[in-house]
Symmetry: C2
DNA sequence: GCAAAAGTGTTCAATGTACACCCATGC
DNA sequence: GCATGGGTGTACATTGAACACTTTTGC
């Protein structure tokens, strides 16, 4: 059939540009936050955008996403998951740009170091996921999609761990869920569920604060992010 | 920051080729089947592949997917959903090719017409999803991913409707679920669940066969594909 | 009248949800 | 000693799973 002949001459086809964009989430100040970057040039100059960039010809998509995170946020080894590919012909006024969006999760404690070194130098800033500035391109749509996916994932898997240090208290874990799902959870039910899932292990250390010390827990190794916290219906 | 300067000169970047591949599922002969196309040229000449092709510069990704379905399978207006984007640098020996995979569902009755006209002319063939030939490129991986997603979707949404004509019997619907989930379901529980979901409406027509006639049902309009049939755990 | 698919309810188990009090520490 | 967050169990409702017989038709 004719298509095969066409396929052979790969070079005949005009090629779009391909980027990766990475929505990086963290929790700070009891809020879900997203890292955005101020654009310095046309188009959408001075507007905020999701960090991203062009893929190299010899790197995988995931590698490109990880590289962007290092370059633009100075962080490494974070949870990274492909979200969706946005390819509307008019989404970038310069030329045809298809973007493969990823989302990433990082414990805010991990940010502290890099934050001090290149703070504001990069023109990047953390915004609360529920009060965003106007965004460049179709980035608002992408970001909203990412938030939906994050919520969904949180209910059905244990991705919450990616937003916490290795050791944490049960109350801290519950807060992660409450912040992202945007609703209060019942302490006893939450803990009962955790116990039944058998994904945590106690340490024998405690977090001491101003009140009664809280036992520290960590996730079991080899818990393949699964098993959920269904408490809201998301699809509509 | 330096990246913005780079971004401005979009043209400086080498561009990959971008294709869409579409995994088209249907149910025939009580099996889940997938449409594959025999390759006519290097690379992977004479091997079977998922239908797909290059995107045009002025069409959306979804449009490209729909167009491929029309060109390669002669069908239109089917359920189409973006699956995942595969971009390993070595997945195509010719050059860097990133493919945005979609999956599509079609009622086999809808195929009958086009089937007769261009059968075998296109070098395409329906394979049972569980007994595939060796596939070109990374298409086996893509296809397995599609099957997983289809199962998942079937449990949590009402996509099953896309594999049936507008009117169908409850037994036919149950068979769709059994074939895809690859397990027997209990007739009474299945019907009780359907009733509670309130997504079907009775017609006053019956399907007459060799035995007792079965009432025909259709899906309510505006049932946004949701609400599920959880009966197996999929993630692992 | 008999073979074959259509249709229909109840019981039990597991899971989810609501809810209130004592405990250990810092100050 | 008191304010504050840490920690724990029980009763009820909802959902899922197992299970068998009668009905209606074509032949």
């Amino acid at each position: 059939m004719e298509n095969h002949a066409k396929e052979y001459n790969v070079e005949e086809f005009e090629r779009p540009s391909v980027t990766v964009d990475v929505i990086l989430f963290t929790i700070k100040e009891n809020k879900l936050k997203v890292l955005l970057i101020k654009r310095g040039a046309w188009p959408f100059e001075d507007m905020w955008a999701i960090p991203g960039g062009f893929i190299s010809m010899d790197e995988s998509l995931e590698h490109a996403a990880a590289r962007e995170l290092t370059e633009e946020a100075g962080i490494e080894n974070v949870y990274l998951e492909q979200l969706y590919t946005f390819g509307d012909p008019k989404r970038d006024p310069r030329t045809r740009v298809i973007t493969v969006a990823y989302f990433a999760l990082v414990d805010s404690a991990k940010l502290k170091q890099s934050e001090k070194t290149d703070k504001e130098v990069t023109g990047s800033k953390w915004f609360p996921a529920d009060t965003l500035p106007n965004l460049a391109f179709d980035h608002e749509k992408i970001l909203k999609y990412a938030v939906r996916r994050l919520r969904y994932k949180l209910e059905y898997t244990a991705v919450g761990r990616e937003l916490l240090p290795t050791d944490f208290t049960l109350t801290e874990l519950q807060k992660v869920y409450e912040i992202i799902l945007y609703k209060k959870l019942d302490k006893r039910n939450f803990r009962k569920k955790l116990a039944s899932l058998d994904i945590l292990k106690e340490t024998n250390r405690y977090k001491r604060g101003h009140h009664r010390p809280a036992k520290l827990y960590s996730f079991r190794k080899n818990v393949e992010l699964k098993s959920g916290f269904k408490s809201v219906q998301f699809e509509k």
